[in-house]
Assembly symmetry: D2
Homo-oligomer: 340 residues x 4
């Protein structure tokens, strides 16, 4: 067994702390040596809570630390691309939260820097590591349902984010559907060539007032001929609704939601159970551990990462294509979307 | 209680015999007095099997029989419109299998004849009477899920029809999706304004060779803002797959397939159960009884029928819009489709 | 194909009318020629409703009618044994509702008469023909779960019968559990040798006041070593609860309840569906048709019936053993129970 | 918030290591300071893996460490009672794996020592903390199903333990059913007064050869009138089968097994999914964390523990009663079982 991988964490917000806990306590092959955050107290609290030796307000301390082999980037989205370039220049392997950036040219510069440096870059599309979706993927990949004909993704949030966030989110297609675009590519194993998006403001007029929509149904045409459909809502009152179905020449596979327990009550009125898991960090906790385990293992064993920089770029292109399709009410090819 | 309704049946093929059995044995308020079929033996066998007093090769014997209050038209599609006009002229109430016709002008003439005569016309969209779909409809109608935002219909056949049939079927949108178009209007309770259809030949190249497709994903925009999506395949190897989901501001309701039994086996390999019901006459038998009961009751009690002539016309328009959308790869408004 | 079987029906109460409808309208191979009931109007109404040529208040008219090949006995329980003897003497094949009698000596006389006459006798344990339970039986019989180790039967009624009925019902074990005793033998395919019954009055003290119990848990030891357990309640507020599970060396098979539809609602409070079918004639309607079809077919093709007179006797013995076990709080062998 | 609880661990075998990981990494309020194991390397490896400052081969080092407030006893069963007495004498709070002992007199001495010392003792019946069973418990406790009438527990292992283990296990009732006895008391909230056990050797004759059985069906009579039934098998080829059902005056609640994913495949043969979780440490991992969290919290906040010493004693009594019932084939009252 090779030695442990020394890791530095940049960004100690909600998602950074989640990765810190996993790196510190759930992944024996990782050694989390340093955490940085521009808010010094955030870095210090994270270090204290997860037994991290060093806390710093300056991410350069991480980049310059010769003991660090891999960095985990959990800072705000607008810093991702620059930090990737810095880390690549410093020869560190990189795990970066999604999205890399909303600007395709900046993404391309970052990916070029990674390629030049010869380091690994894994993007945080954690849902690929969810046990339900991974099982669907594996069944499709091993041919259990034959050739894929139709993909269906249902992806609905329990409640819309604050309007202030909606304003800077990049819009529903880049903020929310981006996960489903990645899922679509992951499950079907083929590239999307064309997108048609229908949508509207049905949940909250305030979302429409800032130029976004809250409900969408998206059609995907894949290079291999398969057709996909995604439906999104910013508000499913019954909780986090995340299901997929892949239909093919030899059968179909579906994945249902996860529930807090299997208890079902029959009373004089109805048969009922509790709502599905409501919070994404609860629903997807296993996937966050698994994606980081995979990253650490790829570094340790020098293997290709399972979610590449290109896997991080394509869904951004899809988000732009979906937006244009929605605005112009016509199918849009991905080839129409190019860096500004 | 009013007296029984005297009924005449035109067409003693598969679906005609089904209605004959129900009228004769399952619906006490109906009195099936005569059956006609251009194949004399078919009419005679039907009469013998279901205790019908009179069999005739000539449908005019039914039309001219003063004792007959209602006719059930189960002959071939190309005869429907003319028979509706004849029956209307004879003052008979009419139950007619779908579709009325593929020619909108002929449909309009038939509907005008019905209106002039003041008789009832019910179209055989039996799936509205399926216990699963009816329950979904009723829950939506009573507000259990609030305002409708998203509709999803999965509709897949166990196997494609013979190529000879495909050639004359009117194409997948008029032959197969037509049921789903009706279901969409029934469940959402709003009219569709625009359709976008993606599709392809994935099941059998022979279907493509005669100018049709076998797989489709269709997006519907409703007048009230809701968005729907239908996915169709001519071949689900696991059987007849007929599911719906309606998602709204206060929740969602889904209906699953029907299975031949509830038995589930867990063995050393897997947890498994038998495939869903495979044959539409088995899957939908209750709905056929229920639609005919409803028709007989409406005649008996002089109430409006639950599936009108206009309900028969609109899905044909939707079928043409879907076809044009598929051919031109753009969203098509229903208002673009007019009688030739 | 052999000719139709001419049938006479004795008893036009609720269950008699059910069989009349099936014989008249659902089973083409049967010809229901006569119905008798000691209440003349009941016989006449039954005849009118189901197109039966002859109605009579005297069951002897059925027995003496040379055209009748088979009789269906649906009169009150206390008349079953005598009518079986009469029918056997008249050379008629017999379908008799359960139970044959509560007196083992009378049962034995009736079975002896049947044997002497060489006629067929099928007992109305309809649940064997329920699609769920039949599928479980078939899977077990074909070895899908290996050798049977454990059987579990859940059998709960929606509501207790009227106290007047409870008084004359023979007690819960002979009135209600008798069906489960038959199911146990049917599913396991081995005879029960010993019974231990625990029970109590939990639903309604009035049931206790007339000497009966309303809740029971019964342990069965089979000759082949398997162990079974049955739980009964006179009142499941959520409806008719009828489930089984058979566990064996190679797996397990379970059968769930039947529901009026597959619709499931998720709202802001819970995920819920409608209660299971509540009324036995709704839950078991298919089984009633199927058992009668089987009987008619056995007569027509001169094959052994699927539920024999001995199948009718054994559950009565089991009922007595369960009662004694409950009263003496000890396991009781079936061999302890003998005709008075 | 009060300060952390300093913990010492005794026994670094499979279950000890599990608790060590949870105390070290999943429960922030615990500080695991020392681990002892009579195998020095086991203690050292455990210390290294879970960042425990001190490892020792001598449990007395734990008992004598003034900084330790609570000990977690995971050594072999025959040491439990003596270690409880030692820990109590040392004034430590105690978490002890089940069973306390197989000798009731020794259990009673240990419980007396705990009581004299005024320390807390929690027994490791972890299944009470399983999300499924806890939800059932809570629903029953809050009256969701009214008064309890019937309890059903299905508890089947994936495979029998090695024969060497079976020999010293205390027999199926003390080794396996003991968990179900605890579950029965937990779910119903009433004491069991009488037990009837049927059983046999169906899985492996070798188990019979060492005087044990491998299959059992047990009837429980509760003080409040409810009746329970447990079925056990040492081998469910489809995996770990752990389900419960509680039926009452106002409804029923059932808990199903846990599965590794929600993916369901429909292919040309059947509808199927993967087997339920097979390994108890996977199936019950959350419950192990939760029971230890509860213990730490009770120590920290000086509250009564949720699983008491008496909760550890009663199931042992039930195990003896079940064994006697099986041997004598009669219902046995718990009051018949007394310390030797």
């Amino acid at each position: 067994m090779s030695s442990k991988v020394n890791v530095g964490l940049i960004g100690a917000g909600r998602i950074g702390r989640l990765h810190a806990e996993h790196l510190a306590f759930r992944i024996p092959q990782a050694e989390l040596l340093v955490v940085s955050d521009i808010v010094p107290q955030a870095a210090q609290r994270c270090a204290a809570d997860f037994s991290i030796p060093t806390a710093t307000p300056d991410h350069r301390a991480v980049m310059e630390d010769g003991a660090i082999e891999a960095v985990v980037i959990c800072s705000s989205t607008d810093t991702h691309a620059a930090l990737i370039e810095e880390a690549a220049a410093a020869g560190k392997h990189i795990f970066c939260e999604k999205p890399i950036d909303f600007d395709l040219a900046r993404i391309d510069r970052a990916l070029a820097a990674v390629e030049r440096a010869g380091v690994k870059l894994q993007i945080g599309f954690n849902r690929r590591f969810d046990p339900n979706f991974k099982r669907v993927h594996d069944l499709v990949a091993e041919g259990a349902i034959g050739e894929v004909h139709i993909l269906r993704i249902t992806s609905r949030d329990p409640a819309p984010p604050p309007i202030e966030y909606v304003k800077v989110s990049g819009g529903i297609f880049l903020d929310m559907t981006i996960h489903d675009f990645d899922m679509a590519r992951y499950l079907v194993g083929s590239e999307v060539e064309e997108i048609y998006a229908a949508g509207g403001v049905m949940v909250d007029p305030a979302i429409g007032a800032v130029g976004d929509i809250d409900t969408a149904v998206i059609t995907l045409r894949f290079a291999d001929g398969a057709i996909g459909t995604i439906d999104n809502s910013r508000q499913a009152v019954y909780g986090y609704d995340q299901r997929v179905e892949v239909f093919g020449s030899a059968g179909a596979v579906v994945a249902d939601n996860d529930y807090p327990s299997t208890a079902v009550v029959s009373d004089a009125q109805r048969v009922h159970r509790d709502l599905p898991l409501n919070f994404f960090m609860e629903r997807y906790v296993d996937s966050y551990v698994a994606e980081m385990e995979a990253f650490i293992q790829c570094v340790q064993e020098d293997r290709p990462v399972p979610v590449t920089g290109m896997d991080g770029r394509v869904p951004v292109v899809m988000g732009y294509a979906a937006r244009r399709s929605y605005e112009e009410n016509r199918p849009v090819k991905l080839s129409e979307i190019a860096p500004a």
